[in-house]
């Protein structure tokens, strides 16, 4: 083993689950420590931004960026990490596709501020205070990062070398990436670490091609048969439009515990818009006799259902009209 590598981790608009996923490597994390020094990891160790900014040139081998870009601080750190690292990895679905925070793209900043700081029943805000980027009190100026109008995935802000999707990223894929870095055998730049195909390819449930769905059910409305395809049973499963790899070669993490796929791995290769593909897949398994209005009635929130994890990277990625 030659020189030790330098790793950096950063979290932006995220829940912290991706950082915990790193720890899910369990005892293998010791092997990571053997090959690499961690130079920046805000959730686990005490580093300041100036420590990171002090690193010159491309001093970091691999930077793992998790979370979507919600404010100017996230954007700044994305740029700082990009400048200083040889490989920048979008780590987790938020960084790759926008993730759950990306659903906020159906509202814009003013609307979010109005609801969060004024209108929710639990808010007490008699002075009508809203976040501002800077405030001068006596001689001191206090600053806050600027909250952007819309959530962006990492690749809209800087160039990204590799993507590890998943909410959180599966341990197998993290390990695959670290192994590849260790032996210096990485796939072509811009690729997603993980299988290229959809979850249905590895799903072990029985699918009867002749079955057409009559009724769409919520998972709370029944107990699905663990042997049969969810779609056949009328539960919406995003497997047809979602990348495999969440549980290695053994089906899917959620499928194995009898829950339909919600699409956290994002679209497979060659697909730009996961939600649109799922709409297409669902339309082809519905029984033709039911009227289309009935279908939209049965699906309570189509945007939230089909674009749960990928709205900011889909074709229409945000609200197009200012709300009145």
């Amino acid at each position: 083993m030659g020189e030790r590598l330098k790793f950096a981790f950063y979290w932006a608009s995220t829940c912290g689950g991706c950082d915990v996923a790193m720890l899910d490597l369990a005892e293998r994390i010791l092997e990571v420590i053997e090959i690499a020094d961690i130079v920046f990891w805000p959730i686990a160790m005490d580093f300041k931004y100036k420590d990171l900014e002090a690193i010159g040139g491309r001093g970091i081998e691999v930077a793992f960026y998790n979370g979507s870009v919600r404010n100017s601080e996230h954007e700044h750190l994305a740029k700082v990490l990009r400048e200083r690292s040889k490989i920048l990895i979008a780590f987790g679905t938020c960084a790759c596709y926008g993730g759950i925070p990306g659903l906020a793209n159906i509202s814009e900043r003013d609307e979010i501020f109005r609801i969060v700081y004024r209108e929710t029943p639990s808010t007490v805000n008699p002075q009508n205070t809203l976040p501002t980027t800077s405030l001068k009190i006596d001689d001191v100026t206090l600053t806050l990062p600027e909250f952007f109008d819309f959530v962006k995935p990492l690749n809209m802000v800087v160039d990204v070398d590799y993507y590890i999707p998943g909410c959180p990223p599966p341990v197998e894929l993290i390990w695959q990436a670290i192994e590849a870095i260790r032996i210096n055998r990485l796939p072509p730049r811009g690729s997603v670490i993980g299988p290229r195909y959809t979850l249905c390819e590895v799903c072990k449930r029985k699918r009867d091609e002749k079955i057409k769905i009559k009724l769409i059910k919520g998972i709370q409305e029944g107990v699905p048969d663990p042997e049969i395809c969810f779609l056949d049973q009328g539960y919406i499963c995003l497997g047809p439009a979602t990348r495999a790899g969440c549980a290695g070669e053994e089906g899917g993490k959620c499928l194995n515990v009898n829950m339909p796929c919600r699409g956290c791995m994002g679209p497979p290769d060659e697909v730009e818009d996961q939600g649109a593909r799922m709409i297409s897949a669902l339309a082809s398994v519905m029984i033709p006799e039911i009227p289309p209005e009935k279908l939209t009635e049965m699906i309570k929130d189509p945007l939230g259902m089909f674009y749960r994890f990928t709205l900011p990277s889909s074709i229409l990625n945000k609200r197009m009209k200012r709300s009145e």
Binding site: F150, A283, E293, L295, T296, P302, F306, I315, L316, K318
Partner: protein
Amino acid sequence: MRRSLWHRWRDGLMNDFRPVIIAFTCNWCAFAGADLAGTSRLQYPTNIRIIRLMCSGRVEPEFILKAFKLGADGVLVGGCHPGDCHYIDGNYKAAFKVALVKEVLRPLGIEPERLRLEWISASEGSKFAEVVSSFVGELKGLGPNPMKEFKGGEVGRYG
């Protein structure tokens, strides 16, 4: 009160608004209907750009979303009447897709009325002309695609 010059100028611009409609028509019915409208020399507005597909079931939701992203003011999906599909049930699939895409467009600030599904048979040249005329009228009422005027935030990989 007399309207200002600016207002009159703006109204003039609004009346001059020429919506662009992208139409996805199936080879067997709606496209043949459009063809008939042409050979019968029926008059209808020229705002429509037709893309012929073999079946309306071939219309992927991505086609529709991309048309809106690139600035189309309206999208028309034309297929065979229910029961008449050359491929048995392609038009039902189109109907499901259009219904769901409308629900996706609504929260994204694009009026669902900008997406229209019509059944036009090969013998209904006049219906095709009527559909185009009424759709153009409706889009003039709605105004341009909000995408075009949208300035807030950066847009994604579609520029």
